[in-house]
């Protein structure tokens, strides 16, 4: 399908059309001045120029608390599916959209499908917004993505001066665009060119790290002293994982009162000592060294071995938010990647 444009002045009408089909989330400034995805009906003005959200939108697909089962007087039941219809996420950055492809590998590609993830994924339409101004922690171009990458999204939007350029990435995206056909015009060649320039200029601002041969190099570097050093510095908090758009490890716990309760899935993190602790007291990853190595190996080697895909989209949240300012790019460089 060809590129379309919609005038900025028609954005509200576009969002109104989406609202008729479901719940719409748009980037908006909160009271503290942070731009985050908020339900459009509560938002006065949609933000289009913003650094990426503090939290990745993965919680829309993998909620931090997901009831897997309900226990009711001895009966074990599946929770009733939420009656929410379709959600539209407008303004997801390309790195975060790309991360969905990694989550798809985990939750949809194996012998078992995760029904909760699947339902949310199927009922959520992602409209990505190309990045015009990356920040110093961004390295999406090094891990297969880019500021204008449409992978993982249904529609890719590029904010031009007067218009939004829209390009469908999936059949679902095409369907969406044809449903609002009245608001769209075929993109003029100048608009397409302007978008390309914008994306190229964004790409130029990103300093690359080479990771294309990471799996191979990390295989050789399993015993590198760098893991020991990183383990010494790492505090063992879960900030990097919890903010990471591809980190998906979880815990399952029961919460019960009397005979009523639930089995709930919550986010978990390989940096925590209890993550792998056996009932016997044995721990296969006993110190921060092994745990830190696991995190890097998982993203840059094991995922490649299993899915031929890096489980890192270069969003840089782990770098920006580490309480002790560790930078995985430094580690990758040290490993020789």
């Amino acid at each position: 399908m060809t590129e379309k444009t919609i005038a900025h002045t028609d954005l509200d009408r576009f969002l109104d059309c989406l609202k008729e089909a479901g719940t719409v989330y748009v980037p908006a400034k909160d009271e503290a001045g942070e731009v985050r995805l908020a339900e459009a009906s509560n938002v006065e003005s949609v933000a289009l120029a913003y650094r990426n959200f503090r939290m990745s939108p993965k919680a829309f697909f993998l909620p931090q608390n997901q009831t897997l089962l309900r226990f009711n007087e001895g009966r074990v039941e599946e929770p009733a599916p939420p009656d929410q219809g379709t959600s539209f996420l407008f303004g997801v950055r390309p790195c975060d959209a790309r991360a969905l492809l990694a989550l798809d590998e985990v939750f949809l590609s194996g012998d078992d499908e995760d029904p909760y993830y699947k339902r949310l994924r199927e009922n959520t339409v992602v409209i990505a917004l190309a990045c015009e101004r990356p920040v110093a922690s961004c390295f999406c171009t090094s891990v297969g993505g880019g500021p204008g990458d449409g992978a993982g999204s249904d529609v890719l939007a590029v904010a031009l001066e007067a218009d939004l350029l829209l390009k469908a990435q999936t059949p679902r995206g095409e369907q969406l665009l044809s449903s609002v056909e009245d608001l769209l015009a075929d993109a003029a060649p100048e608009a397409i060119q302007q978008a390309e320039e914008l994306i190229r200029s964004a790409e130029d601002q990103i300093s690359p790290v080479r990771v294309d041969n990471s799996a191979e190099l990390l295989r050789e570097q399993y015993d590198s002293p760098i893991w020991e050093e990183a383990g010494l510095t790492c505090l063992g908090c879960g900030t990097c994982s919890y903010l990471c758009p591809t980190c998906h490890c979880f815990d399952i716990t029961d919460e019960m009162r009397g005979k009523t309760g639930r089995r709930v899935r919550t986010w978990d993190c390989c940096a925590y000592p209890l993550f792998t602790l056996h009932a016997s007291g044995h721990n296969p990853r006993p110190s921060a060294k092994e745990r830190w190595r696991q995190r890097i190996m998982h993203k840059f080697r094991y995922a490649v071995e299993n899915f031929e895909r890096l489980f890192c989209v270069g969003c840089g949240r782990c770098i920006r938010n580490c309480p002790v300012n560790m930078d995985l790019r430094r580690v990758l460089k040290r490993v020789g990647v």
Binding site: Q64, L243, P323, N325, R330
Partner: protein, 340 residues
């Protein structure tokens, strides 16, 4: 040469000497980080590496957090093998960091005689979030300091933006009561006067919150904690949270739900505040570590003030006192008790 550069030079000399003379096995300081306004911890083990040590307005991290784990192995008991001997550790500590180390020594987590404390009189460190916010729509590509201690950020096209130090200094530093470390083996920098020696700013914050109606306090607290993702950065960044297994993580029994239910989050933060009562040295590491920008000090601050008022004790003053919560007096106040 700026004051910071002078300190940096002396710091490197000191570390080099200590390592060369084998007075320390490891020297713990700061290194320039990959992003502006930041440093990252550096564990130096050979004199050749000391040039990586940095001292600048961005040495915000409280390095005392690493002390318990550096000595954990040597304090391990119960195993078949003899625990290894404790290392000797050289460490850079600012006024607030030193107070944290003092509590760790008092609580027998760290042996004083194994520490070589390089104290640095601290004029207040930069909160990178404040600095980023001050730049508004611009992003810093680099950052430095001028002779007056103000921060210079380099933004797009090499343009320099001056940020006044007091505008970007961390919240905890504005309330600092002891910028100059009292206990040290080496002291670098000229002593700095406390801006808030009596802790009035913190008192005022508490009083302002307390002046609100209970329902409003509750609602504000819920709202403030609504973003909490239970990543535990506040706990891990805190030098005082050195338990090998936190009660909040225990699974046998499981005290607390693992997710972000409002009740679980509230109990996490209430319990954290309680565990830090009379132990928190108010360095602000928890708040700076929080990726969600939550004021994790709101409750802890109140607890510390309460301990000071009730039992006349401030944590981090001395290594040879008894913590007030391990102690009692026959005539402790008990007007809170229910009488029929």
């Amino acid at each position: 040469m700026t004051a910071s550069q002078e300190i940096e030079t002396r710091l490197r000399e000191t570390a080099e000497q200590l390592l060369r003379d084998k007075k320390v096995d490891v020297f713990l300081g700061y290194e320039k980080a990959s992003l502006p306004f930041r440093t990252t911890p550096l564990f130096v083990t050979s004199p050749e590496q000391v040039d990586r040590l940095a001292w600048n307005p961005f040495c915000t991290i409280n390095l005392a957090v690493y002390l318990p784990r550096l000595f954990a192995d040597s304090r391990r008991g119960g195993g078949r093998a003899e625990p290894p001997p404790p290392p000797t550790v050289g460490i850079v500590l600012k006024g607030c960091d030193l107070r944290a180390a003092t509590v760790l020594i008092q609580e027998h987590q760290v042996p004083r005689e194994k520490l070589v404390i390089v104290g640095v009189a601290c004029p207040g460190m930069v909160d990178r979030r404040k600095a980023e916010l001050a730049l508004g729509e611009h992003d810093a590509l680099g950052a430095g300091e001028d002779g007056e201690g103000n921060v210079h950020a380099v933004i797009e096209d090499g343009v320099e933006v001056k940020l006044s130090r007091e505008d970007v200094v961390a919240e905890a530093c504005l309330q600092c009561r002891t910028p100059t470390p009292s206990m040290h083996d080496v002291l670098l920098g000229s002593p700095v006067e406390a801006t808030d020696g009596d802790g009035d700013a913190g008192r005022k914050q508490t009083a302002d919150f307390e002046a609100k109606a209970p329902a409003v306090r509750w609602a504000q607290l819920r709202e403030a904690l609504a973003d909490c993702i239970r990543c535990s950065a506040c706990r891990q960044a805190c030098p005082m949270c050195y338990c090998t297994e936190c009660v909040m993580d225990q699974t046998r029994p499981r005290w607390l739900g693992a997710g972000t239910d409002g009740s679980d989050v509230m109990i996490y933060h209430l319990t954290r505040a309680f565990h830090l009562a009379g132990r928190c040295t108010e360095c602000g590491a928890c708040a700076r570590a929080c990726p969600m920008g939550i004021d994790t000090r709101l409750l802890v601050r109140k607890m510390n003030q309460e301990v000071e008022d009730l039992y006349g004790y401030r944590p981090g003053d001395a290594t040879d006192t008894t913590s007030p919560l391990s102690d009692f007096s026959m005539d402790d106040p008990q007007d809170f008790l229910t009488e029929p």
